[in-house]
C-alpha cells in the first residue's frame, strides 16, 4: 500500500484540480460538493483528458403516468464527469460510462489525514 500526497484539503475545496503521476498512470484528483474523487485522466473513448471535463447533473426524462414526455431536467442526485474532447459521460460516483454498459473509468481510493489528501494505491 502506498499513499501519494496530492494537496491540502482546503485547496481541493476551492475547486482546484490536481494531476498526479502514480506508477505511470496520470490521476486527476478534485473535490465536488464536499467530497474528493480520483480517476485515471484518460477517457475510455479516444484517451481524452476526462479530468478536465465539466461536471454536470445527468439529464433525465420525466414521463407522466401515460408515458408522455413532460420535460427533461438535471438530476440532483447523480452528477457526471464529461470528457471535454467528445462528450463521453461518466458517473461521478462510480466512473461508470453513461452510454456503454460495463465500461468504467479507473477509480482510485482517496484518504484525508490531518487536512492532507492522498491517493492510496495497493499492490
Amino acid at each position: 500500500m502506498a499513499d501519494t500526497f496530492i494537496a491540502k484539503a482546503e485547496a481541493l475545496e476551492t475547486g482546484q484540480r490536481f494531476l498526479a503521476s502514480i506508477s505511470g498512470t496520470e490521476v486527476v484528483v478534485f473535490g465536488h460538493k464536499g467530497r474528493v474523487f480520483a480517476y485515471e485522466n484518460r477517457c475510455l473513448h479516444q484517451g481524452g483528458p476526462v479530468g478536465e471535463g465539466m461536471i454536470l447533473g445527468r439529464v433525465v426524462a420525466v414521463l407522466d403516468a401515460e408515458k408522455r414526455l413532460l420535460r427533461e431536467e438535471f438530476s440532483e442526485t447523480e452528477d457526471q464527469l464529461i470528457c471535454p474532447w467528445h462528450g463521453w459521460a461518466y458517473s461521478l460516483e462510480t466512473g461508470d460510462c453513461a452510454g456503454l454498459r460495463g465500461a468504467r473509468l479507473r477509480k482510485f481510493e482517496v484518504v484525508t489525514e490531518k487536512g492532507d489528501v492522498y491517493v492510496r494505491t495497493r499492490d
Binding site: 494531476l19 478534485f30 483528458p49 478536465e52 471535463g53 471535454p84 467528445h86
Partner: protein, 408 residues
C-alpha cells in the same frame, strides 16, 4: 506528484475560462498517444480538418467582388446571419466540449495568423504531417436560397485563404470550395486557384439538391480529370431539410444528415456512369464515415441485376465502382462493432481507398489511433490509410513529399 501550475488548473478550464486557451494543451493526451505509438516515422495526412472561417469574416468579406453583396456583408461582419444560411446547431454539446468556447480566444504566436498558430499546435499534438482544412459554416451554403451568395463567398473565402493564410504554413493544404450551383463560376475557381501553392484539390459541399450527373457538370469533371486533381464531396447536415422536420435532436439529424446527400450523390454518380465517362477522375467522399457504403453496395447491386437497362453505361456491379473508383475519408469511424468494421474495410478496399481524416476541431473528431489501433489491419494497411493513400489521390502533395525526401 505533479501539481499543475496556475495556467494549467483544470478547474479553470472546466468552468469555461477562455483566455489563454491553447490547442496544444487541450490535446496533450493526443500528443502522449502519438509518442507512445511512434508516429514520428509514419506519414500522417489528415484529409479533413476545419476552421471556423466566420471568426475571420472581417478579413474575408473585403474580397467579395459584387459591390452590393460586399456592402451587405460588411454591415454586420460580426454577425454573419445576414449572409449565411444558418439553422439551430448544437455542435458544442451544450457547452460540454470545452474547446468550442476556447478556440475563438486562442492567441496567435508572434506575427502569424491565429489560424496558423492554432493549426500548427493541433497538428503537432496529434502527430499530423499534412492537413487539408475546410471551412465550417460555409458548408451549408449549398442550401442558400440565393446562389449568388455561394459564388461570392467561395471566391472571397478562397482569396483570403490562399493569399493571407496558406502561404504561412506548407503543412496546411486546401481543396478549393467550388460553388457547384454555378458551373461557370466553378470552372473559374479551378482555373484561378488550381495552380496556387497549397491547393491540392477541389471540394463541393454535399448538402444540396444538385444532380451530380447533370450534363452541365461534364466540362468541370473533364477539366479536373485532365488536371489529375481530386474532387471531394464534403458532407454536412441541414436541420431544415424537409425529411428531418420530425427530428427534434441534433444527434438524430446529424446521424442521418451526414450520409443522406452522400448516398444520393454516390448513387447518381454510379448509376449514370460517371466513373465510366471519367475513369481517371478521382472522387472523394468526405465525412460520412464508412457504414453507409456496404448498405449502398448491397442495395444497388440487388436492383442493378434486375434493371441494368436503367444504367447502360455500367460495365461492372455498382459495388465494384464503390470499392474501386471512389475514395473515402475515415471520420467518423463507426467502430462499435469490430466485426462489422473489419468487413466494411474489406468491402471498400480500405487498403487503397481509405484516407485518414480527423475532422478536428469538430465535436466528433478522430485521432490517428482509431486506425493505428485496429487489430485486424496489417502495418502496411495502416500506413496506407494514415498517409500513403493520400499521396495517390493528391499528386501535388505527392510531388511535394517526394521532393522533401529527395532533399533530405
Amino acid at each position: 506528484m505533479e501539481h499543475l501550475g496556475e495556467t494549467n488548473l483544470v478547474r479553470e478550464m472546466a468552468v469555461g475560462k477562455r483566455e489563454g486557451f491553447n490547442s496544444r494543451e487541450h490535446l496533450r493526451n493526443a500528443q502522449l498517444q502519438a509518442e507512445a505509438r511512434g508516429y514520428e516515422d509514419v506519414l500522417i495526412v489528415d484529409v479533413d480538418a476545419h476552421h471556423y472561417e466566420n471568426q475571420y469574416f472581417g478579413e474575408i468579406f473585403k474580397y467579395i467582388e459584387d459591390p452590393v453583396l460586399r456592402h451587405l456583408a460588411l454591415q454586420r461582419e460580426g454577425n454573419p446571419a445576414n449572409i449565411l444560411f444558418t439553422a439551430p446547431n448544437n455542435q458544442f454539446n451544450a457547452g460540454r466540449l470545452l474547446r468550442y468556447g476556447g478556440i475563438p480566444h486562442e492567441a496567435a504566436e508572434g506575427k502569424e495568423h491565429p489560424e496558423t498558430t492554432r493549426s500548427r499546435r493541433q497538428r503537432e499534438a496529434i502527430g499530423i504531417n499534412y492537413q487539408v482544412v475546410f471551412p465550417t459554416p460555409m458548408l451549408a451554403l449549398g442550401m442558400h436560397p440565393d446562389p449568388q451568395i455561394e459564388t461570392a463567398l467561395a471566391w472571397a473565402y478562397t482569396r483570403w485563404w490562399t493569399e493571407e493564410v496558406l502561404p504561412q504554413d506548407n503543412s496546411v493544404k486546401s481543396m478549393v470550395y467550388l460553388p457547384f450551383f454555378d458551373v461557370d463560376a466553378s470552372i473559374r475557381m479551378v482555373e484561378t486557384f488550381g495552380e496556387m501553392p497549397g491547393v491540392i484539390g477541389f471540394m463541393v459541399t454535399s448538402t444540396r439538391y444538385a444532380a451530380v450527373h447533370d450534363n452541365k457538370y461534364m466540362r468541370l469533371y473533364a477539366m479536373l480529370e485532365e488536371r489529375g486533381m481530386p474532387l471531394g464531396f464534403h458532407a454536412a447536415f441541414n436541420q431544415q431539410e424537409r425529411l428531418f422536420e420530425g427530428m427534434n435532436r441534433f444527434i438524430s439529424v446529424h446521424s442521418l444528415g451526414f450520409v443522406l446527400n452522400t448516398l444520393i450523390h454516390a448513387t447518381n454518380m454510379i448509376i449514370n456512369g460517371i466513373p465510366e465517362r471519367f475513369p481517371n477522375l478521382k472522387l472523394l467522399f468526405i465525412e460520412s464515415g464508412l457504414a453507409w457504403i456496404p448498405f449502398l453496395m448491397q442495395r444497388l447491386d440487388n436492383e442493378y441485376l434486375m434493371r441494368s437497362n436503367e444504367a447502360p453505361l455500367l460495365k461492372k456491379l455498382p459495388s465494384q465502382y464503390l470499392a474501386e473508383n471512389f475514395y473515402y475519408s475515415s471520420q467518423p469511424l463507426e467502430s462499435g462493432n469490430m466485426e462489422a468494421l473489419e468487413l466494411t474495410m474489406k468491402m471498400i478496399n480500405a487498403k487503397s481507398q481509405l484516407l485518414y481524416s480527423s475532422d478536428y476541431p469538430h465535436w466528433d473528431f478522430d485521432l490517428p489511433s482509431v486506425i493505428w489501433d485496429l487489430p485486424f489491419l496489417d502495418n502496411q494497411s495502416k500506413r496506407n490509410i494514415l498517409g500513403l493513400n493520400s499521396l495517390e489521390v493528391f499528386p501535388k502533395l505527392k510531388a511535394e513529399v517526394l521532393g522533401k525526401m529527395k532533399n533530405g
